[in-house]
């Protein structure tokens, strides 16, 4: 599915690098190289996603974002900034950003996050799913019951939360930092393999004894829950 993406970024090289990658993925990309132009383009409401830098000439990223939200434009915004401390991230999210990614970043991480943003955008429109199906895995979000091939799987609360997040982003790559942020609500990089261990435990519970593994590791990027991994 092709999205229309606006990149607001004053570093022409970085913008071109992102644009090239996103176009290869099949999306349509526009670039604005300062905050004011970015606000002007974004206000049109024609974009599915906005990637916003913070430190820019003419108009700073946070100010641009505030102006955009004040004008009622609710296009999902991902802030992409070198300002990476926890406080900076929270400032960005509080100003109305939907996600925050710190430079330098892995391109895979950017795509994974944009993808998750698009999925959330779609979900917000309709009522949240109460039952998720991934292959023969079935998640009942109200009763918090997980079954695979009709067989109930016993999960710890955190494991359930992890699985639900993966399932809501089924067929998409989910990165370790995304999991830390969304499942545990921590905005720092634990550095060690804590997430990997959680994933491998979850994998043992849902995949062990089944012919088709659902939870796969995407090298250098993250994980994916998918029926045809």
């Amino acid at each position: 599915m092709a999205w229309k993406i606006l990149i607001v970024e004053d570093d022409a090289e970085a913008a071109a690098y992102m644009a090239r990658g996103l176009i290869e993925e099949g999306h349509v990309v526009d670039i604005a190289n300062n905050g004011r132009d970015g606000l002007f383009h974004a206000s049109s409401g024609l974009f599915d996603l906005i990637i916003l830098d913070r430190m820019m000439p003419e108009m700073e990223g946070i100010a641009t974002l505030r102006a955009l939200r004040a004008a009622g434009t609710m296009t999902p915004v991902l802030i992409l900034s070198a300002l990476g401390t926890v406080d900076e991230r929270i400032t960005g999210l509080e100003a109305g950003a939907d996600d925050y990614l710190v430079k330098p970043f892995a391109f895979g991480e950017l795509v994974a996050r944009l993808s998750a943003l698009m999925r959330r955008q779609r979900d917000d429109g309709s009522a949240a799913e109460t039952r998720i199906l991934v292959g023969d895995l079935e998640i009942d979000c109200l009763k918090r019951i997980v079954r695979r091939a009709g067989q109930t799987i016993d999960l710890q609360p955190r494991e359930y939360k992890l699985l639900e997040f993966l399932a809501r982003n089924a067929d998409r790559v989910v990165t370790r930092t995304m999991l830390i942020e969304r499942v545990w609500d921590y905005h720092f990089d634990p550095g060690t393999n804590v997430v990997d261990v959680h994933i491998s435990r979850l994998r043992r519970k849902i995949d062990a004894g089944f012919a088709v593994p659902l939870l796969s590791t995407v090298r250098g990027a993250g994980y994916r829950l998918s029926a045809d991994a």
Binding site: I90, Y186, H187, P190, G191, T192, V194, H198
Partner: protein
């Protein structure tokens, strides 16, 4: 209208002068009043009595009677009585006053002090009274000062001189004092100047008197010490940053080189993946250095919220439990006694705990158990991590806390020696501190958060909103 600023040294000098003058004046005035009243009052009464008696004689018996009474009184007296009867143009008609030198007033005076000379040669100051005898002349009567009175007059003159001298001394004293203040301040100022020009070893001289100047010098030295240690830390930081970044950068370089010379597609990709890993690790070091600097200087508490220490530890334990388990260790969470809520930065506290757990997993490896604990200590609330590893000897604890500080045994392992420094920065941000203690066996790393952070039971904004609801 603003008065022009008076220089402080001048003010001090003027004050000192004024004080000297005031104290001397008070002393002189006291002496003057005491002696003056004691001696002069009887003389004055005597002179007035003489004058009134003579005046009575004149009004009853006329000038002849007056003259005879006067000569009677003079011959009977031996203590310096002076009487003179003059005509209108001040020629002596009778009596013993020769030269009423300056004493030719246009009108009568009750009592005054004037120098006179008597016929028998005696002369000196006297208390005199001048009366008018109708239109025909003047009656001057008086008494020479006795020895004591003369002495007292001399004292009074000396007092006037003393006053003048005390004024002079006041000025001199003030100048010396001002000079002293100026010199002391200039000494300190000179040291500050030289320090400012880069001589960081210099300290303001202290004489141990603990007066204001000494205390000022002490405070300035305290500031110099702090600046000096910050500069030293900064220098050490940049040195060790450059030194410690050298090895990952050279590893990175070596890997890029190897990837360039590898022709096989698959191998090359694997090499590039390790390059990426190295770059990420490098990035993490830089991010941590930046964060430490930021947290050390951060004063805003925008992101602070109330945290239940028990829940907080459970959450951390939940994240780390499986990893600790995989590493062959056990995780336990111990909550001792009643816990106070912590007003703090959840993310940063979690990051700090995460670093402590990482350390415990790497260095506490052989012991088998990691404990997350929370306990109330004194006014404050403590949270921390304990392991059963070899611990750190007390003499090395400072080094373990320094930026890039790595104990020799840890040199071979991954890490940049920033973990504990970051934890310390987070503790400082909360107004607390990081304490390391070796407990047999193992290391106990504890974030001690102060009472003001932990003990306030109601957050301020809740109090405020409560107030609004009432009003």
């Amino acid at each position: 209208m603003r008065l022009p600023r008076i220089p402080t040294t001048f003010r001090i000098a003027a004050l000192a002068m004024l004080l000297v003058l005031c104290s001397n004046l008070a002393l002189l005035a006291f002496i003057h009043i005491r002696t003056h009243n004691d001696r002069l009052t009887p003389l004055r009464q005597q002179v007035l009595a003489d004058a009134s008696a003579l005046s009575d004689v004149y009004s009853s018996g006329g000038q002849d009677e007056l003259k005879s009474t006067a000569s009677d009184m003079l011959s009977a007296d031996s203590s310096g009585l002076a009487i003179g009867i003059f005509d209108r143009s001040w020629n002596l008609k009778a009596g013993n006053i020769l030269l009423p030198v300056s004493l030719r007033p246009e009108r009568a005076t009750n009592f005054e002090i004037a120098p006179i000379r008597l016929k028998d040669g005696r002369h000196g100051e006297a208390g005199v009274s001048v009366l008018r005898l109708g239109h025909r002349g003047w009656l001057v009567s008086g008494r020479l000062f006795g020895e004591q009175l003369t002495l007292q007059r001399a004292i009074e003159r000396s007092l006037a001189l003393a006053l003048l001298l005390s004024f002079l001394f006041g000025i001199i004293c003030a100048l010396i004092l001002a000079q002293f203040v100026r010199r002391r301040v200039a000494q300190i100022g000179q040291v500050v100047d030289q320090f400012g020009h880069g001589d960081l070893a210099l300290r303001a001289p202290m004489d141990g008197s603990s007066d204001v100047f000494d205390r000022l010098a002490g405070r300035i030295n305290g500031m110099f010490d702090r600046i000096g240690s910050l500069m030293a830390e900064l220098r050490m930081l940049t040195d060790s940053l450059a030194h410690d970044l050298r090895s990952p950068v050279s590893r990175l370089r070596a890997k890029v080189e190897r990837a360039m010379t590898t022709s096989e597609g698959g191998d090359r990709e694997a090499e590039l993946a390790t390059v990426l890993q190295e770059a990420d690790a490098l990035m993490r070091i830089l991010t941590t250095v930046l964060e430490i600097g930021r947290y050390e200087s951060l004063s805003s508490r925008d992101q602070f919220s109330w945290i239940d220490p028990g829940e907080f530890l459970e959450e951390i334990g939940d994240l780390y439990g499986p990893s600790i388990d995989e590493a062959g260790m056990a995780l336990e969470v111990i909550r001792q006694g009643p816990l106070l809520p912590i007003f703090g930065h959840r993310q940063l506290l979690a990051q700090a705990m995460s670093n402590l757990i990482d350390n415990a997993m790497v260095y506490g490896g052989c012991g088998g158990a990691i404990t997350l604990f929370a306990e109330q200590k004194g006014e404050g609330q403590c949270i921390g991590v304990a392991d059963r590893g070899p611990g750190i000897p007390p003499e090395l604890i400072d080094r373990a806390l320094a930026r890039f500080g790595r104990l020799d045994e840890a040199r071979g392992r991954p890490g940049a020696g920033l973990g504990l420094t970051l934890v310390q920065a987070v503790a400082h941000l909360h107004g607390g501190r990081l304490e390391l203690a070796s407990v047999e066996p193992g290391l106990r790393a504890m974030l001690r958060l102060p009472g003001s952070v932990a003990q306030q039971t109601l957050p301020l904004n809740e109090k405020l909103s409560g107030g609004f609801q009432q009003g």
